[in-house]
Symmetry: D2
Subunit: 335 residues, 4 copies
Amino acid sequence: MIGVGVIGYGYWGPNLVRNFAETPGARVVAVSDLRQERLRLAHSRYPGIKVTTVHEELIMDSQVDAVVIATPVSTHYELALTALRAGKHVLLEKPLTASSDQAKHLIEEALRRNLVLMVDHTFVYTGAVRKIRELITQGELGDIYYYDSVRINLGLFQHDVNVIWDLAVHDLAIMDYVLPLQPKAVSATGMSHICGSPENIAYMTLFFDGQVIGHIHVNWLAPVKLRSTLIGGSRKMILYDDLEPSEKIKVYDRGVMVDMNGESIYQMLIGYRTGDMWAPRLDHTEALRTEAGHFVECIEGARRPLTDGEAGLRVVRILESATESMKAQGRLVRI
Amino acid sequence: MIGVGVIGYGYWGPNLVRNFAETPGARVVAVSDLRQERLRLAHSRYPGIKVTTVHEELIMDSQVDAVVIATPVSTHYELALTALRAGKHVLLEKPLTASSDQAKHLIEEALRRNLVLMVDHTFVYTGAVRKIRELITQGELGDIYYYDSVRINLGLFQHDVNVIWDLAVHDLAIMDYVLPLQPKAVSATGMSHICGSPENIAYMTLFFDGQVIGHIHVNWLAPVKLRSTLIGGSRKMILYDDLEPSEKIKVYDRGVMVDMNGESIYQMLIGYRTGDMWAPRLDHTEALRTEAGHFVECIEGARRPLTDGEAGLRVVRILESATESMKAQGRLVRI
Amino acid sequence: MIGVGVIGYGYWGPNLVRNFAETPGARVVAVSDLRQERLRLAHSRYPGIKVTTVHEELIMDSQVDAVVIATPVSTHYELALTALRAGKHVLLEKPLTASSDQAKHLIEEALRRNLVLMVDHTFVYTGAVRKIRELITQGELGDIYYYDSVRINLGLFQHDVNVIWDLAVHDLAIMDYVLPLQPKAVSATGMSHICGSPENIAYMTLFFDGQVIGHIHVNWLAPVKLRSTLIGGSRKMILYDDLEPSEKIKVYDRGVMVDMNGESIYQMLIGYRTGDMWAPRLDHTEALRTEAGHFVECIEGARRPLTDGEAGLRVVRILESATESMKAQGRLVRI
Amino acid sequence: MIGVGVIGYGYWGPNLVRNFAETPGARVVAVSDLRQERLRLAHSRYPGIKVTTVHEELIMDSQVDAVVIATPVSTHYELALTALRAGKHVLLEKPLTASSDQAKHLIEEALRRNLVLMVDHTFVYTGAVRKIRELITQGELGDIYYYDSVRINLGLFQHDVNVIWDLAVHDLAIMDYVLPLQPKAVSATGMSHICGSPENIAYMTLFFDGQVIGHIHVNWLAPVKLRSTLIGGSRKMILYDDLEPSEKIKVYDRGVMVDMNGESIYQMLIGYRTGDMWAPRLDHTEALRTEAGHFVECIEGARRPLTDGEAGLRVVRILESATESMKAQGRLVRI
């Protein structure tokens, strides 16, 4: 039975506690938060759990085998390092760390101590994203042409990170999981509309080897909520709308057919192909449940998690490069 | 009665002929096209119209007062110049010309001869876009924050121009009409997925003075058709979906409220404001009908059209700069 | 070459003329309408066609082999009877006649003279409805459970017929084509909200043999336009939304599974089955084009049309019964 | 502080417990259920609450002031009667009882003992339904013409009640709250598709005084989930879509204008009016929270609840009449 301690009982912490509480092989031992009223709430819901405002107490607790960290990203590194050095496995909310250097140190620390270091790239554990990876891996889409995502809504301005670190991190985590290749360079643009706040709207283009292009649009100041991704391939294309209650993924048998028989490219004929659309049935298990179980299994089996420190590092590297590019109004930055 | 000659009876030409045929004050005198079968079609529909494969004949026809040009953009300049020099008023399909130099010459030529030079920025003549301009001009949105447009579908690969010149031109024409200011620089990215074809997917960020940002996503290789624009302001926001049959424009009374009472920006409180949504009734007159009437009125009254040569030039300048930036993978290009 | 004469150049007549004008094997010889301005419009579009306000002239014209009737339903019987007696084939706009007695007389008259009598059940000739019939005929849905249709919008109040005769006729024509069995009884309700007008909202339940039930909701006074049909079967279910631009038909692999192992029905277990959704590619040929071609082929080959007089009669019988039931506030009427 | 006991911890009971646990002025004292595993779940979540399989214990508990009943409808009457006779206030899940006679007895019993009897018509406590009532009461819609609701999905076949008692009860509860008048007669139809099960699809038309008509379509065997209501009035119309995340209510300024200047009804002109659409901001408080607070206030202030026994009785009467009509295939039944 893995003893779990959760640091941070704000927006996401309660979901983590609830899911670990119901995960076989795990039990939630302690919760820490700086705010007494959050601890009171945790206690009222789970009277058997220890609560403390001092996170060191939680980390050092001998009943705690694994530390789950759901605090602002600026605190991730110190908390995780302390936990790893205390011999505890660590699951960190996304993004893994505030810099790639920090990420590398955590990875080394975990490796040296044979501890599991995992990042909470939640979407990787949804039925929808797993189905997308399956379709791409099986070659259903043919050659990948583009990956285009829009993730916008009104809400939750953050003081310490820009909208890329808050929202685009989800898209980068999904791309890291479903695409068979990594971006090589990024061009990003963005703007802050609230004086003194970080950028609240941003666009980033990702360049891959070959003809693959990625693009992410994130916005905290949109009147409507959109969670929509298009993945274009030479054989088929996917529309993934996370807000659709039942048909989150639609696979379109559409594309172009090129007839190169002409003598010059001006005689090249491009025809359109329109076939059926298909929405596969998806597994609707709560992503965090699957993820909590996976973390426990990795600890028990000394296995490397699907979203390990390296996955977290790859995403943080892109976030860093994108922020650098955004400061320079779209200048291409190698990753 | 203004005699109209239409050059080009392909995809768009028939719409132009049909609308000028039903515009008071105008009559269609002649149609020219290089393809006999297109002329046969024109003749079967309008037996009283002269048809010719020789556009000079049409231009020189003494009954033709105004020449309407709906041919590939690479031919616009020569055809329009010939018509202006023959003393004819000119309406050119979008984009005005293949370069800003060409556009400037046409503007000078028209000015010197006191002729009307107009570009067919069709969307400017829709009820939806006119309502957007009205709302922005009346200050309904407050300060403009961003303009974000998506215009994608499967179809109509072109050999001679990239997707920006084909699709983004619509968005630039709309922005030129509804926004009170002009973009100063552009960062664009894109990709070609069909060997030998121009870019079929592209993204462009437009920088304006102040905190205004624009973005356009165009794609010829999408499985679904989208025509969706978001305009964010400090007071209200607009969602303009051109594919909605009845509620094309939705005005959201949504935004953020900033409370600066704290001592540092970390204490700045950002609250969310969510009010009513409102979809104004729109004029459903066909845009091309309104536009044809406007062209005739400008000729009769020697007035400057809403979408004059200057408007066409401003759009072509951005297209040029965006293409340059796209070749350099997002490098900022001043406009 | 079949010479076609079209009586009635109002809302639907122009579509009929346009389609017959482009149908191989047919040519439009004459158009009649009581209104001079409609004839002027027809003439301006088709200078070679004879126009007349006297429909007898059109019917008796020796160049006219087939008469197409697009006039108010109250005039159908007299016009069609005159045409049949003059030896002309007849295509009547839906509904076939104002009563089943009239329909029977026309069927007899056509049979006696070996003439084609066809009713314009337009939807039967759409790619969507043909695909539905194909799926049902192939047993894709399993046993049919229900057919439920909603056809509502704001508009086009009629003085002489209620909303059932105007809108539900479409659904009845589709049901007649796609379902393998006929309704035996009907219970209908409705209401008029404009004093002196016929019912503008109506609901009708159709009872078939076995456990099949049909329902149609029609409304001239709705704020939104809906054209939505659900067909439930024991194996699969169809959602047919005629307003969807590309995915008009969605086939859901969903249903219930019954486990009768328990000793009583209270122990009967009903489980839910949720599988993939699939939207087949559809033929997008204009329905009226297909239909015009079919009419010409039936005349040339002396064949019985898909939507013959009998199909028209079956639909009129249900309309009569439904109207009778509606007057009696839902009383069951045998058909 | 009102002590609350909840009988039934199945699907709905946990929501009731959760909401009463967080309602000021109330505390949950005890939970009863026949199933031990449900009680274990309740205990694990709320260790301080008494649990029992014997509901009499709960009812007789001196700390219990009010009994909340979330059990199958066939058990409502006995449980509620026992509770009222023990001097406890009662909140019953919908529908109030299995017959109108039972409802009348409970109303009398509560009246005699000065106890609060309330029925859980949950939708009445949503921001959307409250806004609809406000709009109708203020005369915003003008004269009411029709109320049309569709409530369908795949799921939850019940053994003891037909789909009307399960789903249409929601629509009847909403109509009872928002409409200023009561139905006088009903014509209902329906069908069972699973041998031995009650009707799983049903349609009911409600007749009111004047020209008002209501209709409800409910279905347990639909491939898609719909929760959509249209309310037509002489001035405006409402579309209420409960599945819309943000714009649940849309108010359309649409209708017809009648010009009676002609000499006969055949000259009566009916014009169409199309104005703006408007989606008012709604209160998003969880309905059950509002409802729990209202129950507590009614007990404390000895006030009559919004959804009192009489409201429950009115709805049960219509359910009875509709079931009777459905057995007779649509025969009109006076209510």
